[in-house]
Amino acid sequence: MDDLDPHGPFAALVAEHQAVLRTFVRMLGVQPMWVDDVAQEVFLIAYRRFQDFDPSQGEFLAWLRGIARKVVANDRRREGARARRVNIDLAQLLTGDLGEHAEEVPVHGDLHEVLRSCLEHLPAHSRQLMRMRYEEDLDAERMGASLGRDGNAVRQALFRVREVLRRCMSTKLGSEAWS
């Protein structure tokens, strides 16, 4: 197997599909901290077997999703470190009634741009909450300790901000793309 060229055609495919694939992996019940690890594993398998990919059989993203499903299914069957990558409870919840919906992760290339636009319209204190939660990677309890608030109150506040963002994105992208 030769070097993965950062400017080569496969890297371009990674750049194009990584966001949607990572979101898809998360929707399969993979723990947030392991999403990138699993997604990279999927891309590496795809890179090794790239000669097996037949564009006439379907899109590249659909092929990646198939590999991701197998990787996550293998993790769920295993014990030990790899099993910890998947939240089994959540995976069962999501692969129950919502399993078929995992395929419906929006494939908009401008998803992140739309989100950034929505973030700009948030009040300053809401943006501050988002920064603490995602840039600083603090959970609700640690945010509460920092802000002098109860963890439940922080969770409610974060929920409200995400609801605003969800509605903003639905408006900009169209409800059918986001619902």
Partner: protein
């Protein structure tokens, strides 16, 4: 976009579950909460899915370590590590095999040396014993010490001689 009205659309239990799953921290109570979530309505499940999705996109957009560039760089680094790992494994296996062959050769030579030395030692010992036997036999017969060994006294002859002298 009124946050309060959006919050009212979801039951408090479902909202608490969403908050616990997405914003943590995960605790022992989360398992029971998710188990009970199986009774969520389809609309509530749909909301859970949307919030998970939004959480993932927010994380990818805002967390520097989760940017697209960081992801690609991590992927390339991981690929290199795997390649290096394979090359390292191959090198080690080659060395182990080479050492194994050399050791086998060394062991063979060592065994031959032992066999040769043993044979030579046996030969020398045999020769020495044979020589000793040949040398020692005539020496034993002509030994002066043997002639000096006192012979047993013949009591009958001594008694007869003494009797004769007295007569």
């Amino acid at each position: 976009m009124n946050p309060q009205s959006a919050q009212e659309e979801l039951e408090p239990d479902a909202q608490a579950l969403l908050g616990r799953i997405i914003d943590g921290p995960p605790g022992p109570a989360l398992h029971e909460q998710i188990q009970s979530a199986r009774r969520l309505s389809p609309a509530e499940r749909q909301r859970l899915r949307q919030h998970l999705l939004l959480d993932e996109i927010l994380s990818q957009s805002l967390a520097p370590e989760r940017s697209a560039d960081a992801f690609l760089a991590g992927l390339i680094q991981r690929h290199r590590c795997e390649q290096d790992g394979e090359a390292f494994t191959n090198r080690v296996m080659e060395r182990i095999e080479a050492r194994g062959t050399a050791r086998l050769r060394k062991t063979g030579w060592f065994l031959l040396e032992i066999a040769g030395l043993s044979a030579a030692a046996l030969l020398l010992l045999g020769t020495f014993l044979a020589m000793g036997e040949l040398v020692s036999m005539p020496h034993l017969h002509s030994s002066p010490r043997v002639s000096h060994v006192p012979r047993p006294i013949d009591l009958n002859a001594t008694l007869a001689a003494t009797t004769r002298e007295l007569e």
